[in-house]
């Protein structure tokens, strides 16, 4: 029977499955970070359990690290305690750690692919909802809670109920100025924040095939914002070209053998999904979120919607609360909204190509008066490569802050936060109330749109932007 990409990976990882129970699934790669792992290690100590497979576990520090020039002293005592605990836990349990001195440190979902740890056909988990990012390689990757982190550390397995499958087909070609971020924001706007709950999503179609690996990561990254268990894209030559030669990728004959095996992963012709959604990429405009979840999104040339136009009372009430929090009036032009802050970074949009795209807009311009703009590379490697291309100079000359790598203002666990009432154009993934700082107002956009907003002081339709020659 023809199988989907998801089914092939699932079936190959079932250790055991008794009728009426979830399956025991083997986990190939477990990524950990300082925020969701300390309680798991503490329980291992209490119960006297060991790590089953230290070689399948890798740790980084990302969520709460300051992005000031290194070395620095971490002033926040609780952040320091958490980072110290990570060092101690990795040492005691034998887990390789990319700490703040490591050249490989960075956001967990940026460094996994960079180091070639993330590969097609794998099962990958991490105590972080944006683990869906790794699905861009044709892996089954999903976020877990701390109890499950402990479970994987102790057993290298997880009990999992088999999710249903959903195909999201983006047919046609996207227009100029429309990025991977716009495609995924549009998808979430169409199917809603709970639209994919219970499903492993596979993105297919011409517009998906045309994406680079880094663009595919942006798409899969935000699968969780539609509620999906996982988001995946079948591997192809784009995937193999990205992986070839990376530190943990197979080398020589093993590489050829791996590619041969990976070529068998894409969904078979005629494979059935439990649900299918077909969308036209050509209809997608650059997107800007106006509300307090990623499904509250509109085209940049649209206006802030009127809650009165919503028939469902729960949705209407929700939109009213969102507009109140965001300080927006129904009918206001989105492109006219003035901003105070710009954040280019996060596991959604902090890779080299994201920074290059933003720098193309920024080159030769200045950040608008009154706007504070920052660029936070996703990893130290991204930062080095960007600097080798002179991107740091372009950003700095324009008035951007060029910072060290980490999750930074995506969730504001470190000192990078919004003040109450500040409006931010952000390339991150969540516009929840208070996400970037209590009272802060987040609008999710692509790196190009964030860059243009920084220079203009308000949102701009990037399709009408003219870069300086």
């Amino acid at each position: 029977m023809p199988q989907t990409l998801f089914e092939k990976i699932w079936n190959r990882h079932v250790v055991l499955h008794e009728a009426g129970k979830p399956a025991l699934l083997y986990i190939d790669l477990h990524l950990i970070h300082e925020v969701t792992s300390p309680q798991a290690f503490e329980s291992l100590r209490e119960t006297g359990r060991k790590l089953r497979q230290p070689g399948r576990t890798f740790a980084t520090m990302d969520h709460n690290v300051p992005t000031d020039p290194r070395p620095f002293k971490i002033l926040d005592a609780s952040s320091r305690r958490q980072l110290d605990a990570m060092v101690e836990n990795c040492r005691d349990f034998g887990v390789p750690l990319f700490d703040l001195e490591s050249e490989d440190q960075g956001i967990v979902h940026v460094i996994g692919p960079e180091l070639g740890l993330t590969r097609p056909g794998m099962t990958i988990v991490c105590g972080d909802s944006h683990t869906s990012t790794h699905g861009a390689f044709g892996a089954l990757a999903f976020g877990i809670g701390t109890s499950e982190v402990e479970h994987v550390l102790a057993t290298q397995c997880l009990w999992q109920a088999k999710p249903k499958t959903m195909e999201i087909r983006l047919q046609g070609r996207r227009g100029p100025g429309v990025t991977a971020k716009d495609l995924i924001l549009y998808v979430i706007g169409q199917i809603g924040t709970g639209g994919a709950t219970g499903y492993a999503v596979e993105y297919t179609g011409e517009a998906i095939r045309a994406l680079t690996m880094e663009e595919r990561m942006t798409v899969c990254n935000m699968s969780i914002e539609a509620g999906a268990r996982a988001g995946m894209i079948a591997p192809d030559d784009t995937t193999y070209a990205y992986l070839r030669g990376r530190r943990h990728a197979p080398q020589g004959a093993a590489w050829e053998a791996a590619v041969t095996q990976w070529r068998g992963l894409p969904s078979d012709a005629g494979a059935q999904y439990d649900h299918s959604v077909v969308l036209d990429a050509a209809r997608v405009a650059p997107q800007v979120t106006w509300g307090t979840n990623p499904g509250m999104v509109a085209a940049v040339d649209a206006t802030v919607p009127d809650p009165c136009s919503l028939a469902d009372p729960v949705a209407r009430h929700s939109a009213e609360l969102a507009l109140e929090y965001m300080g927006l009036r129904p009918g206001a032009a989105i492109s006219g909204l003035a901003i105070d802050r710009v954040f280019i970074g996060s596991c959604t949009n902090s890779r080299l190509s994201d920074l290059e795209a933003a720098a193309r807009i920024v080159r030769g311009h200045k950040v608008a008066r009154g706007v504070r703009a920052m660029v936070v590379p996703g990893s130290r490697r991204v930062k080095r490569e960007a600097e080798a291309r002179g991107l740091d100079v372009i950003f700095r000359e324009a008035g951007f802050e060029w910072r060290e790598s980490g999750c930074s203002m995506c969730l504001g666990m470190n000192p990078d936060i919004l003040r109450p009432g500040e409006r931010c154009a952000s390339t991150s993934n969540r516009n929840f109330e208070g996400r970037q700082g209590q009272g802060g107002r987040t609008h999710l956009v692509s790196p190009e749109m964030a860059a243009a907003a920084a220079l203009s002081g308000h949102f701009v339709d990037i399709r009408t932007w003219r870069a300086k020659p």
């Binding site: 025991l24 290298q156 666990m413 929840f432 209590q438």
Partner: protein, 194 residues
């Protein structure tokens, strides 16, 4: 883990959809390295006014609901981050059961790992419970896991569905890891094949 059988408690109505885990427990409380004491951060931004005083309008600040054991919620409750601090904070406050038309996947799963019961009821049933809670503030609800029922004192009741395996684990308070390690041989055999 402590087994969960049933609960009869005051149900606090939280009438908004898509309540995300950043609201349930904001980032500044994620720096803890223990599981306890997180009630102080529960719905922190909603429980306080901008000047830091308690917000008297927020449901869990009202005297009637300070001992709530059940939370009545709307669709897609617990969306967003995978932080298990969200169920830890609810549990630390005393809430062991959340009733909603739908939950985000990771949050739903995390509840079971902590001896908490997330109950999915049809939207119209949840609506009815919200109306009952509005008509009689401080309303008590009984949730019986074995019977898979939600009932009000006057006899109105609803049946809910859940996975039989999750139910058994919760009723018996099973330690997931101990359960898995019984299959050590199967895991070792699997590892030998890959």
């Amino acid at each position: 883990m402590k087994p969960f059988h049933s609960i009869t408690a005051v149900a606090a109505p939280l009438d908004r959809p898509n309540v995300d885990t950043d609201q349930i427990i904001p980032k500044q409380f994620l720096k803890s390295i223990v599981r306890s004491g997180l009630a102080a951060g529960l719905f922190y931004d909603w429980r306080r006014l901008p000047d830091g005083r308690p917000n008297p309008d927020f449901v869990l600040n009202q005297p009637l609901y300070q001992r709530a054991g059940i939370l009545l919620a709307r669709e897609n409750f617990g969306c967003g981050s995978s932080r298990e601090h969200a169920p830890w904070a609810l549990k630390d406050f005393g809430i062991l059961c959340i009733i909603a038309p739908s939950f985000a996947d990771i949050f739903y799963n995390n509840c079971f790992k902590n001896g908490m019961l997330p109950v999915i009821l049809p939207a119209d049933a949840v609506d009815e419970l919200f109306r009952a809670a509005a008509a009689r503030p401080g309303l008590q609800i009984t949730v019986d896991l074995a019977a898979q029922s939600v009932s009000l004192a006057e006899g109105r009741g609803f049946h809910f569905e859940l996975d039989a395996y999750r139910k058994q684990c919760l009723l018996e308070g099973l330690d997931d890891i101990a359960l898995t390690l019984r299959h050590e041989a199967a895991i070792t055999a699997f590892e030998a094949r890959i």
